[in-house]
Amino acid sequence: MEIQTNTEKNGTQMSEQNRTTPSSLSDVAAKRAEAKVAGTTPLGTGLEARGVHAWFSKHHALSDVSLDFSAGTVTALIGPSGCGKSTFIRTLNRMHEFIPNTSMAGQVLLDGKDIYEPGIDVTKIRLQIGMVFQKPNPFPSMTIGENVLSGLKLAQLKVSNQEELLEECLVRAGLWNEVKDRLGAHAGGLSGGQQQRLCIARALAVKPKVLLMDEPCSALDPGSTLRIEETISQLSKSMTIVIVTHNMQQAARVSDYTAFFLSDGGPGQMIEVGPTNEIFSRPRDERTENYVTGRFG
């Protein structure tokens, strides 16, 4: 597959006939766009990445990504493995720096304020930008209820009504009905999909404005995946969600916007971003089209 240079990537010149976009994906995305309730008012100024680069020691993994996440939207990050999606999402709540010898450049603005500003309290940032990981990782030493409320202890927050918060988080994560009778049981006894929803409930308990999800369904079966996607749809009414996924059907089903990342051997770049139904029906860049139609990647 020949990769085009930047000067050639003027997508608007591509003729409509040449395109073989599968109608299913764009249909799904279009349906999703229609279904999105009009009442989702902006919740704030959201999250903005400005010229973000990332390195792992000397390896330049991500180059110059600028991307806005409007409040109350779901943005899917797609692209082949090794293109920097996960690295990018981890720069958004300062988890990138936990890997030794990493570095970054650029700005990430939360409500207009740079989260990398010197002297900023990084724990407060992570409190506002929660994260759900690829593998479900409930705390093994805690019960289901303790897991959900663990953020309060970990971040040293005071909440007047813990019972209420517990129920609210589990309801929002779509897990309440399944676990309400065994909140005192250990989390290890739940299925993988339930554990992942428990992790979502746990992330919700500290009331983040933004939820980052790094391939949250990649370790789950289709049924659990569906439940998580329903959960995401519910959550998107009240918060900003960024989801990394390898499953383009999933991107089409859950997201309002989609960003396509690609590495041509060098650092990963963001090739294109747009409303999800446009990315899947009328991508501007040929490489995006090749990827979403399954011709490479």
Binding site: N93, M95, K124, N137, P140, G151, L154, G188, R202
Partner: protein, 349 residues
């Protein structure tokens, strides 16, 4: 579709013919062994044992080579040599256990575990006096060592696994070097550093200090391994919820590693429970109860054993053997504790 019942079989299991062949190879080896031992000047059980090991190795290889060729022989040799290694180690362990039990049981009686030696001496007939003071002394020393060494060991392990600071490489090296310190050196160090330079005289506390030097590296290295097993996902999950590193370690990492840390503690205890050399300079001796760990000598099982075997009379030696048995039982109880505590946590998951 037929509904015939399918019987579970094990096509890979040894057939009766295979078993007969194995048995005949063993029998043939035994016969050859007997022949060799009788026909040469070699004598005794040990001769039979080692000649059999060697003969069986050769005879069975000859059996195997017919069916599986050179590859099968190599496989069989590797399997047998591994088995021999396991047999030798088990023999050493069981010999020690057997010697201790058979020699020690004669001196056991109620007085031995309920009295001290205040009104008795090593040279009195068995039945008079006991080693309860030494059992208490040993437990006292173990407790002091745990109080000192476990926090230090776990904190060091946390520095190495969680903080990974600039000195981590150096500290890792020092911990490894420290685990090679001969135990007598630990005792001499406390003697030279404290007893010669301060008014403190030998006591259980100083003995505990000396034992801590030996216990810290064991606890540190075991704790380090356990902490490394805690998935980094859990740490990230904690940090991603706005926790500080301290909170993540205290509320997530340490609880997740709890059972392993208990095992680390008990392995450390097993390491020091039988140490004699460091105690000779640091705890002194006493044949009665001494409940003050800071003042005065304290009797301990290892020093009682050491003194008893050195005293030279059959009664003293008998008491020493019985004390060894008691010490083994104390250590055994601790291992059982380690296992049960460890597996209880495992079941929960």
């Amino acid at each position: 579709m037929s509904t015939t019942e399918v019987k579970p079989t094990r096509p890979w299991a040894a057939s009766p013919k295979d078993r007969a062949l194995t048995a005949s190879s063993v029998l043939l080896s035994v016969a050859i062994t007997v022949g060799i031992v009788l026909g040469t000047p070699m004598k005794g059980k040990l001769a039979y044992f080692f000649v059999f090991l060697l003969t069986w190795l050769i005879v069975d290889s000859l059996y195997v080579v017919r069916k599986f060729g050179a590859k099968g022989v190599r496989d069989g040799l590797a399997a047998k040599i591994t088995l021999y290694g396991a047999v030798m180690v088990s023999m050493a362990v069981f010999s020690i256990l057997w010697a201790t039990v058979s020699e020690g049981v004669a001196g056991l009686n109620l007085a031995f575990v309920t009295e001290n030696m205040r009104n008795a001496s090593f040279f009195d007939p068995i039945g008079k006096g006991g080693v309860l003071h030494a059992i208490i002394g040993t437990l006292e020393l173990i407790l002091i060592s745990i109080i000192i060494a476990v926090p230090m060991g776990i904190l060091t392990a946390l520095y190495l696994t969680e903080i990974k600071g600039k000195a981590a490489g150096l500290i890792q090296f020092l911990v490894q070097a420290m685990s090679g310190v001969p135990s007598v050196v630990a005792g001499l160090f406390i003697y030279a550093a404290i007893i010669l330079n301060t008014p403190l005289r030998p006591s259980a506390f100083l003995g505990g200090l000396a034992l801590s030097i030996l216990m810290i590296p064991t606890v540190t290295r075991t704790a380090q391994e356990v902490l490394n097993l805690v998935p980094s996902d859990l740490r990230e999950a904690g940090l991603a919820m706005g926790a500080t590193q301290w909170k993540t370690v205290a509320l997530v990492v340490l609880p997740a590693a709890r059972s392993g840390l208990i095992t680390a503690t008990i392995l450390g205890v097993a390491r020091i429970a039988g140490e004699t050399a460091p105690l000779l300079f640091t705890v002194g001796v006493f044949d009665g109860y001494n409940f003050n760990p800071f003042v005065g000598g304290t009797g301990t099982l290892p020093t009682v054993i050491w003194a008893g075997l050195g005293a030279g009379t059959p009664e003293a030696a008998q008491r020493a053997w019985s004390a060894i048995l008691i010490l083994l039982i104390v250590v055994l109880i601790m291992f059982v504790l380690a296992r049960t505590v460890g597996s209880r946590q495992f079941k929960k998951k």
